[in-house]
Symmetry: C2
Subunit: 149 residues, 2 copies
């Protein structure tokens, strides 16, 4: 399944902000862009969407930057996905009136619609906090590994 870059980078950016604002400071887009190897201008567009979706607060000016708008465990992944891409979780089938025998309708029910529900159930309860937790475990493991070399 192809994930577009806005969705992927948006989630990466949110995770980056969460991880780097634990001291209470704002995170600049230029820092995120450097750390995550993203074009800053493109990242700004993505962050704009994330702010309009109320996932982050932005502060302009010399000590400006971004912070999460609320604790990470109250930022639902499905909301982020919907804000950044209106197709990824949507069931896009539309019935065709001119089709009498119902094969298309039943394939949709049995396959696409069920697959869609299934995907939603995977995402449903996940929050940004889960990604942060995963990242911390991941980087702790890396550190251990480096230590033993």
């Amino acid at each position: 399944m192809k994930i577009n870059t806005k969705v992927e980078l948006g989630i990466v950016a949110l995770t980056d902000i969460a991880v780097h604002s634990e001291n209470g400071e704002s995170v600049r887009s230029s820092d995120i862009a450097d750390r995550q190897n993203i074009s800053q201008k493109y990242l700004e567009q993505i962050l704009l969407g994330l702010r309009q979706g109320k996932f982050v607060k932005a502060q302009k000016g010399i000590h400006g930057g971004y912070q999460l708008s609320r604790p990470a465990d109250r930022i639902m992944l499905c909301d982020i996905l919907n804000a950044l891409d209106n197709n990824i979780l949507a069931n896009t089938y539309e019935p065709d009136d001119k089709q009498p025998d119902g094969i298309r309708a039943s394939v949709n029910n049995c396959l696409w619609s069920n697959l869609n529900s299934y995907m939603r159930s995977f995402i449903e309860d996940m929050t940004l906090a889960d990604l942060i937790k995963e990242y911390k475990e991941f980087s702790a493991k890396e550190k251990d590994y480096m230590y033993y070399i």
Copy 2:
């Protein structure tokens, strides 16, 4: 999730062929096109792919048409999807060497890669026979419903 028309129509076409060749006769593309309200020329392209993927056998000439290449319960849906669209079940993430801190990598593990596995597990054991069964139950219900009107 957006399903492209080749995938959707391909599966519909296969189901149509299965349902309409139970007497042993081949099914013409023009009949499928009429029944399912698809452009015949476009359908031919899709059927070409299905034949090259060994899901159907084709017969040219005046009594030609298409038949399943083997019983429907041995035609796996995941194989069809892979033949018609090489992204739909693929995990398209590619690691970025220039990225030191591992946020992208861990988001991929926790989210995209797991979501992909989850989707696969839904499709994994389904065959064309399941769709045919669903369709028959569906159309039986429709018939009952019409009867009571």
